[in-house]
Symmetry: D2
Subunit: 309 residues, 4 copies
Amino acid sequence: MPDLKTVVAEIAAEMKERPDRGEVAKYIPELARVDPNAFGIAVIDAEGKVFTGGDADTPFSIQSVSKVFTLTLALGKVGDRLWRRVGKEPSGSPFNSIVQLEREQGVPRNPFINAGALAVTDVILSGHQPREALGEILRFMQFLADDVSISIDHGIAGSEQRWGFRNAALANYMRSFGNLENPVDFTLGVYFHHCAIAMSCIQLATAGRFLAHGGRNPTTGHSVVSLDRARRINALMLTCGHYDGSGEFAYRVGLPGKSGVGGGILAIVPDKASIAVWAPGLDAAGNSHLGRIALEILTRRMGWSIFGA
Amino acid sequence: MPDLKTVVAEIAAEMKERPDRGEVAKYIPELARVDPNAFGIAVIDAEGKVFTGGDADTPFSIQSVSKVFTLTLALGKVGDRLWRRVGKEPSGSPFNSIVQLEREQGVPRNPFINAGALAVTDVILSGHQPREALGEILRFMQFLADDVSISIDHGIAGSEQRWGFRNAALANYMRSFGNLENPVDFTLGVYFHHCAIAMSCIQLATAGRFLAHGGRNPTTGHSVVSLDRARRINALMLTCGHYDGSGEFAYRVGLPGKSGVGGGILAIVPDKASIAVWAPGLDAAGNSHLGRIALEILTRRMGWSIFGA
Amino acid sequence: MPDLKTVVAEIAAEMKERPDRGEVAKYIPELARVDPNAFGIAVIDAEGKVFTGGDADTPFSIQSVSKVFTLTLALGKVGDRLWRRVGKEPSGSPFNSIVQLEREQGVPRNPFINAGALAVTDVILSGHQPREALGEILRFMQFLADDVSISIDHGIAGSEQRWGFRNAALANYMRSFGNLENPVDFTLGVYFHHCAIAMSCIQLATAGRFLAHGGRNPTTGHSVVSLDRARRINALMLTCGHYDGSGEFAYRVGLPGKSGVGGGILAIVPDKASIAVWAPGLDAAGNSHLGRIALEILTRRMGWSIFGA
Amino acid sequence: MPDLKTVVAEIAAEMKERPDRGEVAKYIPELARVDPNAFGIAVIDAEGKVFTGGDADTPFSIQSVSKVFTLTLALGKVGDRLWRRVGKEPSGSPFNSIVQLEREQGVPRNPFINAGALAVTDVILSGHQPREALGEILRFMQFLADDVSISIDHGIAGSEQRWGFRNAALANYMRSFGNLENPVDFTLGVYFHHCAIAMSCIQLATAGRFLAHGGRNPTTGHSVVSLDRARRINALMLTCGHYDGSGEFAYRVGLPGKSGVGGGILAIVPDKASIAVWAPGLDAAGNSHLGRIALEILTRRMGWSIFGA
């Protein structure tokens, strides 16, 4: 068994050097100006030991990685009734496709495409003011990461809101089918803000630990969800966590993972580790290019694929 | 840890009794007349011990489960060049959808939907007579199952061919984009015949063992594929093995698996076991209803989910 | 040649009696409460003689019939440059479909589906305040109908705006492709208000006369568009004026026509007459059920089909 | 009123010179080798006077123009029951799209897209041998054109059959929904052969005369269909006769017309004339480039648009 500390350090060094870095998201200026040379990685093992490389404590915009946590929150609130509002199947379409919504009457295919995450946000918002719902989400992230310093980048949230026409289309469209219950602007507002949460790799890997360990953070002892639910969230991450690149990610990396357009990926090694990587350049499917490569190397060297050691 | 023998026996007994049995496929008479009360299960552990329940040695039509093995064969022939002809992503559509093919210029989304399996069959057929290609596939199955008695049900193959208009449409459509190279009837003929291979649960679980053990049957010592390839085939089974019910299967069962319209499912527990179940009644997505439930119970009781123990 | 006055009177009497009246639009309360037994018809011949039947001077919500006039206005402003923003082909989809927009990058298929009419409205709005643009549209209608009493039903406009999630989705979606230039709410606001213009059959038939007579109202002598443009607007009405029922309308009625969800239809008999009918009940495609039947009888009795006398 | 003879001669001269000639269809060698400089036009007025220009008596492959005549035949056989098998709406898709068929359960949108024409052919074939059905279609063409020398180009038919994978896909696909009743190869065979009928502009314009004159050839006095049916066939030609360029054709030319990939177009001026043009180069939508332009000039000069004189 190779030494995890060495492997993580090697990967960080290697990734810093690679010339192929993908394309940084440019749809809002705040993301466009992120340094394409950034790379961070944090791995936390079952004992709670933290192994880091590169820019592991630089906060970045977690964007869609937040959808794992809002899904967890919403399941906590309404349980399996959530699945009346959103499906569990890969979409076979880009993250912001609206075609599937027309065919399936406003029910998004899964909670990780934008439309699905909007439905999940709407569930969390239900009966509350946007500020309250957002506060709840942020406190949940702080609790999971055991770090009250985590905050929202309001510049990014505002910019998303100003330019988020595609998401506004999805939200209005679902609303027309009755699959949003709150005012469209409220749901969109909470959505844009939870996507704009800023976290470092270390914070993100910490927040994901409950998924690696049967629903419970083994260090703090905090129980977040049942074993069964943790497994199921992992399953959804594997089949749907990388949009229309989910099959490729499973094929190459072999771990449940969720990516964000900010270049972050949270990946789970069941019973072994929680991993966060960050590299801002994206591939054609909108997932972190070097983040995926780093995870591929890591799983291979450590024998961590869930599909066979 | 519960006793595997007991768990398998309990599941078989329980499944025999259940009133909800799904709907037996009716599109050809040979499948329509299969006994809906049949149920079989075979589990083979890492040591090669075989645990069975119900009709575990009754042969049934493996249908699309054969696609796991033709994929393995085709990868052996052309390696990663196969991925020029077929994708690796879940389709987000029913198994026989043609819409995606139009959008993506004749390249099927993955090797497990019908269109993708036709492309894989075409690769195996390349430069050979249908009879030769079919012989190769059958001998490969006999080799994997270590049983030369395995054969093709020609009644079923003929019936499929007579009524296989949808598959003929898919094949002609791909041919129009140049993504089939052999005469359409040849490719269709080999496809219909390899889907008509008849195997028992015991034979099928045996044939799948290399996927559970790094590409190698630990009992015979036969190496079939590399560890890396075994992992990747498992990943494809997980994301795409149950058509538009793949997300649900991953969510509930948590194992790589491939279903067939004959009611069979092959499921892999990496490093631990190869499993075949058979229950002819299907659910709405065309996957074995009780087969999936049996696997869900089995994984839960044994703690075998790849998403956390 | 039958006597037009008699034919119009007979049709009005017959339509008042028919039990099959379609379904009144129910998506907003203001439309839902319209009397399903209403029926009006007005035919104005080349000499300017007006033939009426039923509720020909009751104002109703013209809804999408307004799109003929906004198209005329927008063509007057930007000429053929309009066709960079919207196509000229039938959509093969329901009036509010968003699927086509995704496939064709935010360019609506024609100016008469909702998305296309939003793009047309955006052109009219360009560089103005919503109030100004709306004033211009209203004055244009008053000028065409030669009647300054025509007004907007603000109750309907407000209700549309409150419940217009589908149109908001379309507008935001086009905006995401850069095919709306004004603030989404401005364009939507003008759109909802011009759809809420209330007119009687007599007013509407008067307003449409320029289309029947080479671009010019032969009574007032006002020239509205060139002969060529009048022909082309008629062509668009024929191929696209009844959404996904345009083929059926051309097949049965054989005249250029534009329907609205308020139950109105404007139909043009080139060189002969301008016709407006109103019957609030709709058919499955969202077009006036009895309106279409009345026009079918009228054209047949008068030999007015453009497809042969 | 300009002199028709002069106008036709001018158009022919002008078209012979134009450098923009579109792209000759290349999908089979027999069509690819047609001279791109060919241009023919024939106009037959109500009195039966024939005006020609260019290569008006050179036979060319009428291809999809044949669909007007097979539609006429099929309506004669089964009347309005035909509309259970095929729709009357523009498709909003390319001529050979299969997507719409999946969405609408094997019922093609109209009789002029390939799928629809296959359904129409299947109706004509019903209960006969392919040879008999084809003989009937050919004799119908000879009768309409009053010319027994019209024949099928078997070289083209054979080539179409060898390379017609897309049509084979459509046919098999419809068969899977039960919307073809004959053996797929029979229907395809008759279809490919009737598309391979060779006719000159003069023959084609003669064959179309019944559509211009209320269902009856005014010279021979032969009644082919009722006035009502003639109108309706014209309406279908207008809304659907140029595939996904039907709106553009109606907008520019303003006549019912049907194009073929061989470069021919039949256009009808109700009550006035039957027109055939031929120019082998096609535009992006697969319709004759110069054929459409010639018709646009002709209608404008003669004031023949059905949308206003």
